[in-house]
């Protein structure tokens, strides 16, 4: 349904002709398709609807004016900054896509240890700008190509650095929002012109309204600027690299160490995590390379570290006796990075790690101590610039058995989850057969430790319809298994109630029907009231979960 001419022209007048398009060649390329939607939180085998226009605003004022037009004409809108997930795409046939690509500013306030970022400032650029001042930013596990602001406003933002730096939402010091009705709200340090830098106090906080726990997934308007907390970076102003493309490696980071810690039993692994949460010695902690799969991770690392490496080397490398035996020793593993503020600090941290290993019968993988491997892993984890490796094996992946919870919940079930996946790998050809366990996740899903993130990667081919279908069947089975264990919804389904499988928004009636059966329907009635106050024309789709209160019906 094309936009009214008046509405389209009004938007053109605001952003300029070259920053809005309703041409099918543009709007069609702003739909989320299988290869990406498979990656969490979205339609699995459908495309999201085609937006009626794609708009690229260049300032907060332009955003405000565009949203006012949407309010005037009753046009739905959805904002996205870096488009990693289906939740950033429109969910109706009468909607425009707001792409924040033109707003990519970063300013570092070194004194107050914060960065003022615009939506298109991706992690990679915020990080390099911060490092010039001896600072660093939390990098969500989605990687440095994603928007720092979108991770904090729209989603969770946990990753390897969360243990030390907190997750994205914990780092918000202030924000500027254009609310769904076109009003501008400034909170925290941005509300007071950057002259103070505590969170959203004093007084009542709007954080719960604007992003809540999971993030507002684009349903609370457009965040145009955000002040995020920065953290110490005891490294050089720029990480030097060596090695040939694509296998760049970190060069000479003397006060950093990276280890792959290995354990005999999951119980030891969980206990080590608990001790690390208490010890506060880890800069980055992530179970990273197991995402390729338990049987192939050693071989994959060998390929990645060699600039001439190819996937056709995979099977021979898996058969290599050395790689095979080292891989076996890394069955239950996690990658960590230590950063020494001083030599003594580093020595202390090393000692603490050794002590944790002693208590948990763990060891450091020799294979991962090879210099080139170490330098590759260090650069990988510090910059988190290779997130697309998630997709590289088969072109796509989906998560199963994914949660952010206590490590003692996941650990005892790891082998059972692994066996379930291995069975599907063996019984069907649809998902990659990588050894069952392909768990990855952050050592902590909250600053200082407490929860842990985990998720099994299911690698499949986005071009192969049978592979897509088979993957879905496996994931459904895995979800049934999770429910049988009392674990609730798999991480990949956290947005299943926010968008229908056909890619469209839920209607209010559908949401009412879903939420009335949940244990605490009053929460969704409360959210209904919040939405009525901030988004009276319901312009941002069904990611904001609401249930119509009984007395309103």
């Amino acid at each position: 349904m094309a936009l009214e001419r008046e509405a389209y022209r009004a938007i053109e007048d605001i952003v300029g002709k070259r920053n809005v398009s309703e041409d099918s060649s543009v709007t069609e390329t702003y739909r989320c398709i299988t290869s990406q939607s498979s990656a969490h939180y979205g339609p699995f085998n459908h495309q999201t609807p085609r937006p009626q226009a794609v708009v690229l605003p260049g300032s907060t004022e332009e955003v405000r004016q565009v949203i006012r037009i949407c309010n005037r004409y009753g046009i739905q809108f959805k904002v996205a900054s870096t488009f990693w997930a289906a939740m950033g795409y429109v969910g109706s046939d009468r909607a425009i896509q707001i792409d924040m690509v033109r707003m990519g500013g970063v300013r570092i306030d070194a004194k107050n240890m914060m960065a003022i970022v615009e939506p298109y400032a991706i992690g990679a650029v915020v990080q390099v700008e911060a490092m010039k001042f001896g600072l660093n930013c939390n990098m969500a596990g989605v990687g440095c190509s994603s928007s720092v602001l979108a991770g904090a406003a729209g989603w969770m933002g946990f990753g390897p650095s969360s243990l030390f730096m907190g997750i994205a939402s914990e780092n918000i010091l202030g924000a500027e929002w254009v609310l769904p009705d076109g009003e501008i709200l400034r909170t925290g340090s941005l509300g007071s012109d950057g002259s103070w830098f505590c969170g959203e106090g004093p007084g009542p906080s709007t954080r719960a309204v604007l992003r809540g726990w999971q993030g507002s997934t684009g349903a609370m308007g457009v965040c145009t600027r955000m002040a995020v907390r920065l953290h110490p970076w005891p490294g050089p102003k720029l990480i030097p690299t060596y090695g040939e493309v694509p296998s760049y490696k970190a060069d000479g980071l003397e006060n950093f160490r990276t280890y792959t810690l290995c354990f005999n039993e999951w119980e030891d692994y969980a206990r080590a995590f608990q001790l690390f949460h208490e010890a506060d010695v880890i800069y980055l902690g992530h179970r990273q390379f197991n995402m390729f799969g338990r049987d192939i991770k050693g071989a994959m690392l060998k390929i990645l570290v060699d600039s001439g490496g190819q996937f056709s080397d995979l099977l021979p490398l898996m058969d290599d006796p050395y790689v095979k035996s080292e891989n076996e020793k890394m069955k239950i593993d996690v990658q960590i990075v230590l950063a020494g503020l001083t030599e003594r600090d580093l020595a202390y941290k090393e000692k603490a790690v050794d002590e944790v290993l002693r208590q948990t019968h763990g060891w450091k993988s020799e294979f991962m101590l090879d210099k080139e491997m170490r330098d590759f892993v260090l650069l990988y984890l510090l910059r988190l610039g290779r997130k697309n490796l998630n997709y590289t094996l088969c072109s796509s992946y989906e998560g199963n058995f994914g949660m952010s919870s206590n490590v003692f919940v996941a650990a005892p079930l790891m082998e059972e989850a692994s066996a379930l996946k291995r069975k599907w790998e063996q019984d069907t050809p649809h998902i990659a057969a990588v050894g069952g366990d392909s768990d990855m996740g952050s050592m902590s899903g909250i600053g200082g430790g407490g929860t842990t993130g985990w998720e099994f990667f299911v690698h499949f081919d986005a071009y192969d319809k049978d592979s897509i279908r088979g993957t879905k069947e496996f994931i459904d089975d895995s979800q049934r298994w999770m429910l049988s264990k009392g674990l609730g919804a798999d991480m990949g389904r956290w947005n299943a109630d926010a968008r229908r499988e056909d890619g469209y928004d839920y209607t209010q009636e559908e949401h009412d029907a879903i939420y009335k059966n949940l244990p605490q329907p009053a929460i969704f009635e409360y959210q209904w009231k919040v939405r009525e106050a901030f988004n009276p024309r319901h312009l941002t789709g069904s990611y904001y979960r609401t249930k119509t209160p009984e007395n309103v019906k």
Binding site: S21, S25, V245, Q310, N388, S395, P429
Partner: protein
């Protein structure tokens, strides 16, 4: 089997994961927000549609019939400078995608359907009529630069190297002298050199990068016949476009010749002591890696294979497929020539080597999308100026021409020089 038609790219279109790495330098090489972007087209037009990912998606949309070749589709297709920067960034993590080859396949489909611009047509018509892609020039004047040099005419005599000047050095004012200089200097250094005489003509490489596959193949066919007839086994050229054409594009058509850029030969001669720089140049310069010499200048590796899935779904190629990720491009030779010049100081920009920023002239964009082309050159000058250099040096006449006429973001010009000019001053 190498993908040739747009349909052949369907698996890649659907397997591209929308990670958008193709809009940025390899992340681990980003040094600042200001100079972090890599794709001229995505940076200028902003819509994702104008990135390599957008083009994969657009290809799919066009094949599915969900969009026509609208005016904006045609703009998005032809505004790719074919610089290959997306290709390098994508291949940092992906082992089964070829975004650059797809961008060109998309252009080819548009051209087949008659969807191209008048400026492009004029160049292709000129190629047909005068064997050059510089409209207004005449074939009869093509080798005037070689007059009285005493070079061997390879249609009559044999030599170790064929000197291939290329269109810009054959005709361009101020450039023809440079062709003359190189040929004379190499000959004086003892290189056994000749040229193709009347059989000399455009390499046609740009036609391919613009999507005019038929015109390219016709031109390449004529050149291959001339080279074979002359028994040429090695080519040296000062033009990066020609270098790429012979080294990579002609190789796909079966031509096997050793191809060198003059800077490679000069670096060898310097190392052997057959070339010496005697004069000092008190200047600070920064070096712009031409895309066609750098990341696109890797040696050709023949391949004819198929996709093979292992472990159920993991993609491999059987036999292993060459992975052009920019690793073996020509980056060091021009730098070593510059470093050998007494007094000359070389300062590097942030975007160099395989992740260099394009000058904006590639893919025929100076003909199809002049605003994009000059904005891209402007961006490069801004970056060059940020190094504190007095001049930007390049090893490609197309880059030179585009950089010469550009201004930086503050409207200031910067001296753009061909590496030849510095070598000529120093010998």
């Amino acid at each position: 089997m190498i993908e040739t038609t747009l349909e052949d790219f369907r698996p890649m279109m659907e397997r591209c994961s929308n990670c958008l790495a193709c809009k940025w330098l390899p992340y681990e090489k980003i040094e600042s927000r200001r100079f972090g972007r890599n794709c001229p087209s995505a940076a200028y037009y902003s819509f994702n549609t104008y990135s390599a990912r957008g083009r994969f998606h657009l290809g799919q949309v066009l094949l599915d019939g969900r969009s026509e070749f609208t005016e904006q589709a045609v703009e998005a297709i032809h505004s790719c400078t074919a610089c290959g920067s997306c290709d390098v960034s994508c291949k940092i993590t992906r082992y089964n995608l070829e975004p650059l080859a797809h961008n060109i396949a998309l252009k080819e489909r548009a051209v087949e359907l008659g969807k191209y611009y008048p400026g492009q047509k004029a160049a292709i018509d000129c190629l047909e009529a005068e064997r050059t892609m510089l409209p207004g020039e005449r074939h009869s004047a093509r080798t005037d630069w070689a007059k009285d040099l005493g070079l061997k005419d390879l249609t009559r005599e044999k030599a170790e190297y064929a000197f291939f000047a290329g269109c810009q050095y054959s005709f361009g004012s101020g450039l023809a002298e440079k062709a003359r200089f190189w040929a004379g200097m190499l000959r004086d250094a003892g290189v056994d050199l000749g040229y193709l005489g009347k059989a000399d003509m455009c390499c046609g490489g740009r036609a391919k990068q613009m999507g005019f596959k038929g015109a390219f193949e016709k031109q390449a066919g004529a050149n291959i016949a001339a080279l074979k007839a002359a028994g040429v086994t090695a080519i040296v050229t000062p033009c990066s476009d020609c270098y790429h054409a012979f080294k990579r594009q002609y190789a796909t058509l079966g031509l096997e010749v050793k191809t060198l850029h003059v800077s490679e030969l000069a670096a060898d001669l310097l190392a052997e002591g057959r070339l010496k720089f005697k004069k000092s140049i008190d200047m600070t310069v920064t070096y712009h890696d031409p895309c066609h010499l750098g990341r696109l200048g890797e040696p050709y590796v023949p391949w004819d294979g198929v996709e093979k899935k292992v472990l159920n779904q993991i993609h491999t190629w059987d036999p292993p497929r060459p992975r052009y990720a920019g690793t073996f491009g020509v980056y060091d030779a021009p730098r070593s020539v510059l470093k050998a010049i007494p007094g000359l100081r070389l300062k590097e920009m942030q975007r160099v080597r395989e992740y260099s920023w394009c000058c904006g002239a590639g893919g025929g964009c100076s003909l199809s999308s002049p605003e994009l082309s000059s904005a891209t050159a402007s961006e490069r000058l801004t970056e060059a100026r940020s190094t504190g250099a007095d001049a930007i040096v390049t090893a490609c006449p197309w880059c030179l021409r585009n950089l010469e006429k550009a201004v930086d973001e503050n409207g200031r010009q910067m001296k753009a020089v061909d590496i030849t000019e510095l070598v000529a001053l120093a010998v």
